[in-house]
Structures are given as C-alpha cells and as structure tokens.
Chain length 136, copies 3
C-alpha cells in the first residue's frame, strides 16, 4: 500500500473546498490549479499579487513551486503544465514571462509539456496553472 500524502505549504491560503493543493502517491505528484494569490494571512481572504498578468503569473509559479517542494520535487520533475488564460491576447506576454522564469530557474532536465487554453476564471484572475510531476 502506497500512502497518499497531501501537500499543503504553510504559505498557502485554505482551499475553497474539500480538495488538496497537492497530493503525492508513489512517484506521482499532482498540483491543483494555482492562481496568483499572495501568501495567506490568517483570518483574511485571499489577495491576488496584483492586477497584471506578470504579477499573477509569477505568483502562480511561486505557488506551484512551493507545492512541488513540499513533495520533495522540483520543476525538473514536472511532466505537464496546464495554463489557463482568460484572453488569447495574453498568450505572447505569458510566453515571455514563462520563458524568462524558467531560464532563471536553471532547469537541468527538459522543459515540461504544456497545454494553454482560454477559459473563464473567477473575476480578477487572469491565469491559473496546474501541474503533473513524476518523481525520479
């Protein structure tokens, strides 16, 4: 029996429902859809990092990364990133931010696969990202 472990970074806001920010079982790690919420402040509702795509994307990356690290994984273990944007016009800018971020992270393994689609998100949110990782 392989144990299923919830990954709950101390910085994260409580999920709005009965789901985990991340789970790990055996060598599979799944990160739930993350958005650009700043680190949680006890007793206060979630606050986004800012109104811009850049602010929200970078905070979303930080939130995904915290969950990976909570599970003993890194960006190098990520197989798939799902990027949800609200506006096709944001694609080019998101790609610039994406590339610069992963350049800085100094990956040693090939970049993850990715799908980007354009959906509705709660008011004020411009991006959501989830990730599937396979640990080494």
């Amino acid at each position: 029996m392989t144990e299923k472990i919830a990954l709950t970074p101390a910085t994260h806001t409580a999920p709005p429902a009965r789901f985990s920010h991340g789970v790990k079982k055996g060598n599979i790690l799944q990160v739930a859809g993350q958005v650009g919420f700043l680190p949680a402040v006890a007793g206060q509702p979630p606050v986004t990092a800012g109104p811009t795509l850049r602010e929200q994307t970078l905070q979303t990356f930080a939130n995904v990364k915290a969950i990976l690290e909570e599970g003993g994984a890194s960006w190098d273990d990520v197989m798939m990133m799902r990027v949800y944007l609200t506006d096709v016009a944001h694609f080019a800018e998101m790609n610039e931010i994406y590339d610069a971020y992963f350049e800085e992270q100094g990956l040693t393994a090939p970049a993850a696969a990715r799908t980007t689609v354009y959906v509705g998100l709660p008011k004020g949110l411009l991006i959501e990202i989830d990730a599937l990782a396979v640990l080494g």
Copy 2:
C-alpha cells in the same frame, strides 16, 4: 507487458464516440469526462438527472465513482479531479455540494487535488468532471 483495461460500468450510456469511460493500466486509472446522465436505458438517448447544478453534480459524482469501482479503486485513490463548469456563478454552490458529498463518502486518505475552470459544454449540461487515480 501491462494490460490496458476498459472500465465500462453496466449503468453507463454508450460513449458518443470511440473512447472509453475509463481505462486502467498498471496502477494508473483514468476516468473520462463524466456528466450528469442517469443510468442508461437500452434504446434510449442519454437523459440528464435534472436541470439543476445539484442534480447534475451528484449524478456526475455517481458516474465517476462507478468507473473507479469498476477498476477496483475508490475516491481515496483519486489524485486529481478536473471540474468544468459553465458559469462562474456556480462555483460557491458546486463547492457546497462537493464538500457535503465528500464528507458523506468518509474518505480515509487526503482529498484529491482539483482544478475548476469555466468552459462551454453541450446544451443543458452544467458540469463535467474527469479524474486521475493512482491505485495503491
């Protein structure tokens, strides 16, 4: 060679195309997108459980669960739930239904991760859910 097995509960309507409601290979079980269709009646087209989010969500859960069980899995094995809604205004109500349902199910492992996005669905459908499970 690990065998890939189709998971086809007797209660399910025939898929509208050449795909499986669920598949299992080794310890990985994938549930296809499920909607609020009532158990199939031979020779009749699919019928939704009702027009409300509550009716459709609970039926969708039942349909996902039947596939998990067909594969020898349970909610405890689910790593990721993808919830597709058609309207951001349904988020709070879906979360209430979601929480009450999983409370009732008496999970013994941490809750799955989840991503919720807002998309288009065929007319009359308010919710679709798929799930990835890793068996123990």
Copy 3:
C-alpha cells in the same frame, strides 16, 4: 534516477515557448497540446493544415502520433485524450472524424478515455488535443 526525455519529432514546429512537445519519464509519456500545424518548414512560421475541422483534426492526430512514436509509444498506450474545441456545433463532426481515424489505426487495446470541452483557441485554430500515455 529515471531520466526525463524530451520528445521532439523533426517534423514539428518549434514550440512558441520553453516547453516540450512531449516528455517521457519512466513509463509515463505526456504529449503537449497539439494543433493542426503542418510539418515545419525551416525559417517559416507555422501553417495550419487548412481552415476546416477535418483538416485540422487529422493533422492534430498526426502530430500527437509523431510524438508518441518518438517516445516508443503508440495510440494503444494512450490513457487520456483531452480534446479542446471552440464550438459545440463541431462535436458531432469531430466524433465522426475521431471514430473513422481510430478505426483506421487498428487499435489492439481499448480506446483511451477522453474529455471534450469548448474553450477559446488562437485565431484560426478549431481544435487542440493533448494526451497522456502509460507505456507497457
């Protein structure tokens, strides 16, 4: 340590950002969102196979298949296909194309699970597909 390998068919256009068209690690193979782009021509921007759903769907299948084969996998190994359409009115036609295509492919294992949702895609694109495979 299991190596993570990028799957980059020679026919594929360069991704528009720092992601891989496919990755494989251990027995898990993930194909990034593919669209109906024709085989790449050096120095030229991507060109879609045509304006119709049929042309784009068949080219998208070819692009997914090339990545699977680059990783030593086949359609039989695919557990999940995610199909993103832009218009609910395309569902029936996509299913016809889907069924005929997989009929021709002569699968020996059960068909993959599938989720189809309706989202926004970049201008001119009618379909995007990604896939998760578990190798044998």
